[in-house]
Symmetry: C2
Subunit: 271 residues, 2 copies
């Protein structure tokens, strides 16, 4: 998917919501546990109930790998379902991969070619040659971790290096990489005041923003400091939407939560 197509989808749906599909078998409605593939059945219901309110789905691979081969099959079925039924959706494999060159190429193939995701999240620690293999894929997007939404973000990401914090150095350096136009960045919503600084370094890039909702971030603040001319934001919510209820009405309740966020986004976009 091209960035332009993503922007068009945002404008037409009046939403820049990404729904995180982090499915934990201990948290889904018990009646689904009797089905052949509970994770997929859960995702399918959530997707059918929310696809017109969001522009992106983001399965976190950890939640699938934890169930081994069966989990990987659920992931495959989920991405296939989205790609077939809702091809306008921007799909994100939240995998946080990264390895030496030839190995990163294998990861890129796994997510871009085998599973057919539009994008994948990648960790920056190993530098240029660990990220460029992902960037080489046309109309695929590499979402680099910059400033994450967890407490541990302050262990290394905000350390001073060359008179700027490490995450700013990551943003700066990554701009020089080959095909850097295919980069987006993860920036946590829990630190809205940082967005203004970040926009000075990467004014045009899309930011994937976790941490709204369950992790405490505020949508208005993020948009105030982080939005650009082409919106430039994908706001992720996972638990707040998909676990709104664990009863038979889970999909309906998930839709209600997604709708609340979409309505706030609509207001912001119409301003």
């Amino acid at each position: 998917m091209t960035t332009r197509q993503l922007i068009e989808q945002i404008r037409s749906k009046k939403s820049f919501l990404c729904v995180g599909l982090d499915v934990d078998l201990n948290k889904i409605p018990s009646h689904l546990l009797n089905t052949e593939d509970p994770i997929f059945e859960f995702n399918k219901a959530i997707i059918d109930a929310t696809h017109d309110l969001c522009v992106s789905y983001k399965p976190n691979t950890a939640f699938y790998e934890a169930y081994g081969i069966k989990g990987w099959q659920s992931l495959q079925k989920t991405i296939d379902y989205i790609n077939e039924k809702y091809p306008e959706i921007f799909t994100i494999a939240d995998a946080k991969r990264g390895d030496i060159g030839n190995t990163s190429t294998m990861y890129a193939k796994a997510f871009f070619e085998d599973l057919q995701f539009d994008s994948v999240t990648v960790a920056p620690y190993m530098g240029k040659d660990s990220v460029e293999p992902f960037l080489a894929f046309e109309n695929k997007h590499t979402i680099l971790l910059a400033l994450t939404s967890n407490e541990g973000a302050f262990d290394f990401q905000t350390l001073e290096t060359n008179h700027k914090e490490l995450y700013k150095q990551v943003l700066e350096t990554s701009k020089s990489w080959k095909n850097s136009q295919n980069l987006m960045y993860v920036v946590g919503a829990t630190k809205a005041e940082y967005f203004a600084e970040i926009r000075k370094i990467i004014p045009d890039s899309f930011l994937l923003v976790p941490g709204v909702g369950a992790q405490g971030g505020n949508l208005q603040d993020v948009c105030q400091y982080g939005m650009n001319d082409t919106i430039g934001l994908l706001i992720n919510s996972s638990r707040g939407i998909i676990y709104a209820s664990n009863g038979n009405n889970f999909a309906e309740k998930a839709r209600e939560e997604a709708l609340k966020l979409q309505q706030q986004m609509k207001q912001i976009l119409e301003k």
Copy 2:
């Protein structure tokens, strides 16, 4: 597996060799491609031919994920084969994972519980709460990326932070994490002169050392600066061993290459 068991295995085999199982279908002998599971058949032959010369196997997950569900099945069969037939072997899932707390727990379950690896490699960028969930597993080991063997290592890992390079800060900070006794570290062999500095910070930890062989690192230098009283080194070789030949004799040739390294290690250990 306990660290003590690993050390005993090293002393009895007179080897601290780890064989990287990075299987690329384009590089394995063509006669294997007709079997039902070429990746597993390749691994099985390599393992049977080298298990007495090495103490560890390290499949890199990228090479399995690239083949989707089939690849994940090959990985499962490979680790099951090692655990059943050669339970003394220290197994490493080279996965370079890391995510926010509850998500890292899912990755830990995937590799420690579902697949039953002894250890997994983890990226440090997201800090303490992304690593501690792995450390919570008893007699399992978390191998944290410190200084990697690729060119991109110099993009961020060697930047000055708090008057020391980032990778040294990672080593230093990680020592304060809960259950840090379960940490090992990835330190690339291409920079042997750094080992002396590293040993000042983490004198007792095991280091997983890629970059000997194909990537140009020198075994003698690494041992001179990196070895400690309990050896403290696992030297990885992947391509140099597993692709020594792509003919019918590939396993035999892999053994020859593994034997060369083991003989050098034996000499070093007997000094």
